[in-house]
């Protein structure tokens, strides 16, 4: 063993550095280029206190490796208009803007420290403030000094990939509403507290004697406070009830408001006439608790999708038009059918059109989810959003913007979400029964007691309405949902709203269908080396050569070398000279050795078409094989690798769990029949349940046809899944998914694979069970209370005891019942640390 370095842990992310990637003599080691870049950026600005802070505040938490993504689309004026707010320009020539960015990878206080130092990292940024609970960074910068894309690229390099925080669009209005609600909660609390204090005096006075003047004072004051409580903070409940009655939708606000209004009115009457019971303390505390529930409910994250915005994130906004004068840069909006645009290699195609000149390969994964690039010749059709890989193309424009195929897909997403509509939550459906039962019992009480004395009858009826108020339900069900969704978020499952949880549980209960996308969900989504023919040691040389490339195949080779761990002898990466021929291969030297890595055709052409390699040209490895990659060392092909997109290790087990949960799994994929079949067979899914070669429109059609008969859950990650995700009963987007599928889906899973889906469904069922339990407990209390009222045994003191008791019992059930549990899969890449 030579030169084993002292520490083989990556200085940035803490993961293990394989021995052959170690730089001898270096004091810090890195597991990949991304970590190295992030470390150097942090170090370069003198911010290495970050690492000390991280160990201090959140020991054991891992930073995320940086990425090289450029955010050119963030500079687009349309994007700016949607997401950025302009500040009053203080200095001449300055153009100060503010944007909210949702960041991935924020996990501890040290991250907050680092992020708020952004002004030092990127000149031109005037302030950066992190909202830790929501992982939103508010950045204010001078647009004349630095562009937003540069700021975002720096954030991504550090490991915090930014997304436009959609909420900032209606952010102003939303936060006003939240504040107004919080103000109401506070006022209701103050009023309820004071009413309770006064009633304490009244109760004490009820047992002993109390000066009638004082009694009257207290009664008048508590009436004033209670009426204020009903008309100011409590107003929302009454408005909600009126709206529900007008639109004839069941809502808990109706029985609640009935009790509140009648109770207060009767109390006012009793104060005026000088005798009779007052229930103000129960009523104002009821208002306070209910408003807490509403506040919690209202603060849930709002997602909304608009097709125009989605389109911006998918297609470039600038294009190069070819005219008689030459090339001209224009915005995509100004393009007309009939013009010709130039698409350089590496660029996204901005329009739908026909190729008139140039032949290249196209990465169509945006639309089809297919991992293989296809070759494209003049005369063939291309679509906006696909990536031109190899050589420049001249494209004749046929449609632009919303008329392109991807534009139409995004409109389908928007419509799908709209048509899904609002589902009535279980608690709201229970509201109607409550209302009917309560009113019926109240009327019965009136009738029974009327012959004794009308005022006693009314007393008892009002008491019944107040005491049986479904406060427990009104508070508990939002609490159960919010706590569950919070737990789910910590477990890496971001759920859009309460309806989604109910729909998931219903789908499982009613034997619904779960449609799974293939690439990225059932399979790793990456190319993996599955077999090696020839000499093994060349793998190490090839890995060194391609280490700095971001190409899918390069990463597969590096992974394979790591897994093989061929030698512990460190290799000096500084002696590598590599030149990447885009899309085809890499050629260069490692030390003194010439190495060529690429497709067989590429390598052979570089070597001068030598046929005698000593390697049998074996047939492909079966339908799963993506491609064969050859490694040539010093002029001869020594090794051929076969790559495939492998099925995930836990997928088979996860499919079995889904079946036992009551769901029927099917596969919807854009890839070829043969590939999908072999994967389906290895997972135990019957051939009839496999649908291959589907376009996005066909996936949507399939989902809609199933939805007509049964509930359907869709799991996918690509843009080609987005319309289907929006149309399904529940759409689930998995990690690594495109922006569009995130918008279209109801749930976003931060971990990879199918296992988190299993936990999501199990958790949803537990949540629904908790809600049933709270409804049951609430009803039990109400039955007892109603009986006491009808027997005329209840007085305000008893009511003041029973009602909080029922609320607290229901709350205890809500808090203690298990809901979502964190998945133990290895795929969880970021952990939520000590900030929230």
């Amino acid at each position: 063993m030579d030169d084993v370095p002292r520490s083989t842990v990556c200085a940035h992310c803490g993961l293990c550095v394989p021995a052959w990637m170690v730089t001898p003599g270096g004091s810090e080691q890195f597991c990949c280029a991304g970590c190295r870049a992030a470390y150097e950026l942090i170090r370069g600005c003198g911010l290495d206190r970050y690492y000390a802070l991280r160990d201090e505040l959140a020991p054991g938490s891992k930073s995320i490796a940086g990425s090289n993504r450029q955010f050119a689309e963030f500079d687009d004026p349309a994007f700016m208009k949607l997401h950025c707010r302009v500040c009053d320009a203080p200095a001449a020539g300055a153009c100060v803007r503010t944007v909210d960015l949702l960041l991935e990878g924020v996990h501890c206080g040290a991250c907050m420290w680092l992020l708020e130092k952004l002004p030092q990292l990127v000149p031109g940024v005037t302030s950066a403030r992190l909202h830790a609970g929501r992982n939103v960074l508010t950045v204010t910068w001078d647009d004349a000094a630095v562009r937003l894309s540069r700021i975002c690229a720096t954030l991504a390099k550090l490991g915090y990939t930014p997304h436009a925080a959609r909420a900032s669009r209606d952010g102003r209005a939303a936060s006003e509403q939240d504040r107004a609600m919080l103000a109401r909660v506070g006022v209701a609390g103050a009023l309820a507290g004071n009413v309770m204090l006064i009633f304490l005096a009244l109760y004490a006075g009820a047992f002993d004697s109390m000066d009638p003047g004082h009694v009257r004072l207290f009664r008048i004051i508590s009436t004033a406070l209670s009426v204020l409580c009903l008309l100011w903070p409590g107003r929302v409940l009454i408005d909600g009830a009126i709206a529900a009655i007008r639109t004839r939708t069941p809502h808990l606000d109706v029985p609640i408001s009935l009790g509140l209004v009648l109770g207060t009115a009767w109390g006012v009457y009793n104060t005026v006439r000088g005798t009779g019971e007052l229930y103000y303390d129960s009523i104002s505390v009821l208002i306070f608790f209910l408003l807490i529930g509403r506040y919690i409910q209202q603060k849930q994250q709002r997602w909304a999708s608009s097709s125009v915005e989605l389109l911006f994130s998918l297609t470039p906004q600038g294009a190069t038009v070819i005219t008689e004068q030459g090339e001209q840069e224009v915005s995509v909006e100004s393009l007309l059918p009939g013009q010709t645009v130039l698409v350089r290699s590496g660029q996204s195609v901005p329009v739908d059109g026909v190729v008139v000149k140039g032949s290249s390969t196209l990465d169509r994964s945006l639309l089809t989810g297919e991992s293989q690039p296809v070759s494209i010749e003049p005369g063939q059709e291309v679509f906006a959003g696909t990536v031109n890989v190899a050589a420049p193309l001249h494209v004749l424009v046929s449609s632009t913007g919303e008329q392109t195929r991807v534009g139409r897909l995004m409109r389908m997403v928007e419509e799908g979400s709209r048509r899904k509509g609002r589902m009535l939550l279980l608690a709201d459906r229970a509201a109607t029964w409550f209302l009917v039962a309560i009113v019926g019992l109240a009327v019965a009480t009136l009738v029974i007691w009327w012959r004794v004395s009308p005022s006693v009858a009314i007393e008892n009826a009002v008491a019944l309405l107040v005491v049986t108020c479904p406060c427990g339900l009104g508070l508990a069900t939002p609490m159960v949902m919010t706590i569950a969704m919070g737990r789910a978020a910590r477990a890496g499952m971001l759920i859009k709203d309460a309806q989604t949880v109910e729909r998931l549980a219903d789908a499982a209960r009613s034997r619904g269908v779960i449609a799974l996308d293939k690439t990225g969900t059932l399979t790793d989504g990456r190319a993996t080396v599955v077999s090696i023919e020839g000499e093994m040691h060349t793998l190490r040389l090839a890995a060194c050569l391609v280490a700095s490339s971001n190409h899918r195949v390069a990463r597969a080779i590096v992974d394979a070398a790591k897994r093989a761990e061929l030698t512990t002898q460190p290799l000096d990466l500084t002696r590598v000279r590599a030149r990447e021929i885009s899309g085809r291969g890499v050629i260069g030297t490692v030390g003194a050795t010439n190495v060529i890595v690429g497709s067989e055709a590429f390598v052979r052409s570089r070597l001068g078409a030598s046929e005698a390699d000593g390697l049998a040209k074996g047939p492909g490895q079966g339908p799963q094989a993506l491609s064969r990659v050859a490694i040539a060392v010093d002029g001869k092909i020594r090794t051929v690798l076969s790559l495939a997109d492998q099925v995930r290790g836990d997928a088979r087990e996860a499919i079995a769990s889904l079946r036992s949960a009551g769901l029927e799994p099917i596969v919807l994929s854009g890839d070829e029949q043969a590939v999908v079949q072999s994967i389906g067979r290895s997972l135990g899914i019957a051939d009839e349940a496999l649908h291959a070669g589907l376009s996005p429109e066909e996936k949507l059609a399939e989902i809609e046809s199933i939805k007509a008969r049964r509930a359907v859950i869709m799991v996918g990650d690509g843009v080609n899944d987005a319309p289907a995700l929006a149309a399904a009963s529940v759409g689930i987007a998995v990690r690594g998914g495109a922006e569009a599928s995130l918008e279209a889906a109801d749930v976003y899973l931060r971990s990879e694979g199918v296992r988190p889906v299993v936990e999501l469904i199990a958790g949803s069922r537990r949540v629904m069970r908790a809600i049933w339990l709270t409804i049951f407990t609430s009803v039990a209390y109400n039955v007892v209370a109603a009986t006491l009222c009808m027997a005329g045994l209840v007085n305000p003191l008893l009511a003041a005891i029973i009602m909080p008791a029922s609320s607290f019992t229901v709350l205890a059930v809500a808090l203690l019942h298990p809901s979502f549990r964190p998945t133990t899969s290895r795929g969880v890449a970021s952990t939520d640390g000590g900030v929230s």
Binding site: C45, L57, Q120, H131, A132, A183, A190, L217, V835
Partner: protein, 65 residues
Amino acid sequence: MSVLYIVVPLALVIVAVFVAFFVWSVRSGQMDDLDSPATRVMLDDDGTPITRPADRAAKADAARR
């Protein structure tokens, strides 16, 4: 205990004042983010000036001249 007729309404006036303060603080956005200030307190700045590579290069150039 006729003082109660004065004291109780007075107490309510004080409550009103505090409620007004509370509503003001909510409306001006002071209650929007209750998580980050808790962590921010823990991160003290030791005041060392932070230099960027570009600045350092400029300083090195200036020193050389």
